[in-house]
């Protein structure tokens, strides 16, 4: 318990911004009938994007030449935002499904 508490405290210090950690948000993108909703989101470094897949199909959130998150049918998947900048993602299985994440620097 105590060790865990210290670890959290130390991690917060190492990141240099305990307040930012406390404010880290989870931003939800819903997938419904072959579309990311909302298609464009804004996030900050430290936030987590959570994809909630209401479809009966497997989808991905894929950044060309970058990361990929596999989102199971009727399931969820998430990914922490680690880098500032703007990235476009799409579903590799259904390339007409597109989304964009604009990430502000911490």
């Amino acid at each position: 318990m105590r060790a865990g508490f210290y670890l959290v405290a130390i991690t917060g210090l190492m990141l240099g911004n305990g307040a930012m950690l406390a404010e880290a948000r989870t931003i939800r993108v819903t997938i419904d009938k072959m579309a990311f909703v909302p298609a464009e989101i804004e996030a900050q470094v430290g936030d987590t994007i959570e994809w909630v897949n209401n479809d009966i199909l497997v989808h991905t959130a894929t950044v060309k030449g970058g990361w990929e998150v596999m989102i199971p049918a009727k399931g969820t998947a998430s990914r922490a935002v680690v880098e500032a900048g703007q990235v476009d993602f799409y579903c590799r299985f259904h390339p007409n499904m597109k989304g964009r994440i604009s990430v502000a620097a911490p």
Binding site: K33, M34, D55, L57, A73, F93, N96, M97
Partner: protein, 192 residues
Amino acid sequence: MGVKSKQLPRHAWKEEVTVNIRPMTALVTLCMLAFSPPVQAADKPTDPQIAHIAYTAGVIDVENARLAISKSGNKAVVSFAEDMVRDHEAVNTQALDLVKKLKVTPEDNDTSKALARAADDERAKLAKLDGASFDKAYVDNEVAYHKQVNGALETLLIPSASNAELKALLETGLKIFQGHQQHAEHVAATLK
């Protein structure tokens, strides 16, 4: 579910007739279904028939996709075909779950039979092609096939479905297959 039609005698004429026409018999059938206004209420397919038609249409696309996966060396074509297998199997699994839940037995019918027969012809033609000509023929057929299936869903199958859950699944299917059509068109454009 019996999608392979064995009762050939009734349609023995077809062997000669289809040799020189475009491999679109299934599409023509669906097209006629979709665009001729129902004269009598009897023209409207019943829910058990709709379930059978939709399931058959899915099985056909999976079989075509399996052929493409085994024959094509084109990465975009193979991954499109893999997408078709994954999605149509998912939709058909959902359809089977639904008919089980609703205690509906899908009922074979002339539309399903015509679809299955035409698809067999199409696949036989595709099987004879290789390389780029196979890729193009497969993808072009996928574009046309999805277009026509979507047309039939929109104008006939969805409006005819009386069970709300079946209607909702068909509507979800339509969204998915519209996506497939766009995907197929995109792949087709890269083959030109």
